[in-house]
């Protein structure tokens, strides 16, 4: 068959896989909804969970879509569509595809015309991302039952343990926000952008929280996270304008050290 990165047969294959993945989500959603009823979780809580999860997802999902567009220049639409809808994430896939293209001596901006180049990129991306996909079904039960035991043995410690996990995860990402602050001393102030964006998002979250409790606007709490996310993202446009491009490149660093 004549090869093209946007060949209809690729669309069909990707469409089938994505349909199966969608079916899995629907399957688990239906079962969890049934179980929620049995557990006596209020239907109001369930409805709020659904609507705020849906609203929250919109902005990050559009960011994923940006990744599809960026990768589609060299890889066509079907492959990035698959890779970013299934297990992928923007940072991983862009790097994986970049590594494969570099090994092939290909430019990321030119469309692939040789099917063997395409297949090579496809294999690199598939094998690289496979570890967690294969591991998750094998170990989840063990880890999960261990967690439940902690919660049953000492209820208070179980709750603290759960909070401590999330705090640990959040503190790592907070640290990451400051990773380019080091270079301010060298005159590279771009590193301030993520810090300022984080602060805006935090302040907005605090204000929304206060408004919701003081003025008793209950629906506000359900959308506090998407609101702070969008304000943070909007402020990024402003801060990038003030501090310059958000990425500190190797070239910039070597210029500074030279």
């Amino acid at each position: 068959m004549q090869f093209s990165v946007n060949s209809p047969i690729l669309y069909i294959m990707v469409g089938i896989i994505i349909t199966v993945v969608l079916a899995q989500s629907v399957f688990f959603l239906v079962r969890a909804l049934k179980r929620a009823k049995e557990l006596g979780i209020e239907s109001k809580t369930v409805k709020k969970t659904i609507s705020s999860a849906a609203v929250f997802t919109i902005a990050p999902a559009i960011a994923v879509l940006v990744g599809v567009v960026a990768l589609s220049k060299s890889l066509g639409i079907p492959l990035p569509w698959l890779r970013l809808s299934v297990i992928g994430s923007i940072t991983y896939e862009t790097v994986a595809a970049g590594n494969a293209l570099e090994a092939l001596g290909q430019n990321a901006a030119t469309t692939i015309t040789d099917p063997s180049v395409y297949v090579t990129v496809l294999w690199v991306m598939t094998i690289s991302i496979a570890a967690s996909m294969i591991l998750a079904p094998l170990v989840t039960k063990k880890i999960q039952s261990g967690m439940t035991k902690i919660g049953m043995k000492d209820k208070k410690w179980g709750e603290i343990f759960s909070n401590a996990m999330f705090l640990g995860m959040i503190s790592a990402f907070l640290g990451y926000v400051f990773c380019d602050v080091t270079y301010i001393a060298d005159g590279l102030i771009q590193g301030l952008t993520p810090v300022c964006v984080m602060v805006v998002s935090a302040v907005v979250m605090a204000i929304v929280g206060l408004l919701a409790t003081k003025l008793k606007i209950r629906w506000l709490t359900d959308y506090a996270l998407p609101i702070s996310l969008l304000c943070g993202m909007a402020s990024a446009i402003l801060f990038t304008h003030i501090f310059g491009g958000y990425e500190i490149t190797a070239a910039m660093l070597s210029e500074v050290s030279a």
């Binding site: 994986a96 294999w123 598939t126 926000v177």
Partner: protein, 221 residues
């Protein structure tokens, strides 16, 4: 109690079946593409590409499974490790949902709420991307506009600022040490950046759990 076992057991059973089934489907995709276009990969480039990508990705992948399973719950895990975009989408979504519903990750209520949030998020993401793919020609200039570019690049700081307020305000004492540690590490170690934050998450989690245990034993929490 028996019913409780049944639901969790069935989540694990179906999670395994779906997970392994979809893994097979994904791995057969490159094979089928090779056959359809009768094209072989360029072996030396494949080896080089894998060498540059695989060690880091497999390490991060294994660490991610071990760290995120306790936070996502069983159903959430089976879905997240198929649909991906965990730290920038599924995890914050599940954490926020459990926090607002006032349920803990290690209870069955937490399991159910997390599964609902992640399933809804996966479905919405998939639909948005399908719409985007259909409308890609009119959308490309908007999505690629340099004005909007920084907004998409700054998703993580915009996300974790808000989440941090929620969690730190509820656990002020416990959060001081972990936040300080991570700030010092990320500011002073240049190798720590966007691509290595995945490795620092378990470091932060283990450290915070140890601090919490000590404070709990001393009656400080």
């Amino acid at each position: 109690m028996k019913k409780n076992m049944t639901y969790m057991d069935s989540v694990h059973r179906y999670g395994k079946i779906w997970g392994i089934g979809i893994s097979i489907l994904l791995i057969s995709f490159p094979i089928v593409v090779s056959l359809v276009f009768s094209a072989k990969p360029e072996w030396s480039a494949l080896a080089k590409g894998l060498f540059a990508t695989l060690p880091m990705y497999w390490a991060v992948g294994i660490i991610e499974v071990l760290t995120y399973v306790p936070m996502l719950g069983a159903g959430g895990t089976y879905l997240s490790f198929v649909t991906g975009n965990i730290s920038n989408l599924k995890l914050p979504c599940a954490v926020d949902a459990m926090e607002r519903a006032n349920v803990k990750a290690n209870s069955e209520e937490g399991e159910v709420i997390s599964t609902i949030a992640i399933a809804v998020s996966s479905i919405v993401t998939t639909i948005i991307i399908i719409l985007g793919v259909i409308l890609i020609i009119p959308l490309t200039p908007i999505l690629e506009s340099p004005v909007l570019d920084p907004a998409f690049a700054m998703i993580l700081p915009a996300l974790f600022g808000g989440l941090a307020v929620v969690f730190i305000s509820k656990n002020v004492k416990l959060s001081i040490l972990p936040v300080l540690l991570m700030l010092v590490l990320f500011i002073f170690i240049p190798a720590l950046n966007a691509s290595t934050v995945g490795i620092m998450v378990p470091v932060g989690v283990v450290f915070t759990v140890i601090v919490a245990r000590i404070m709990y034993k001393k009656g400080m929490l």
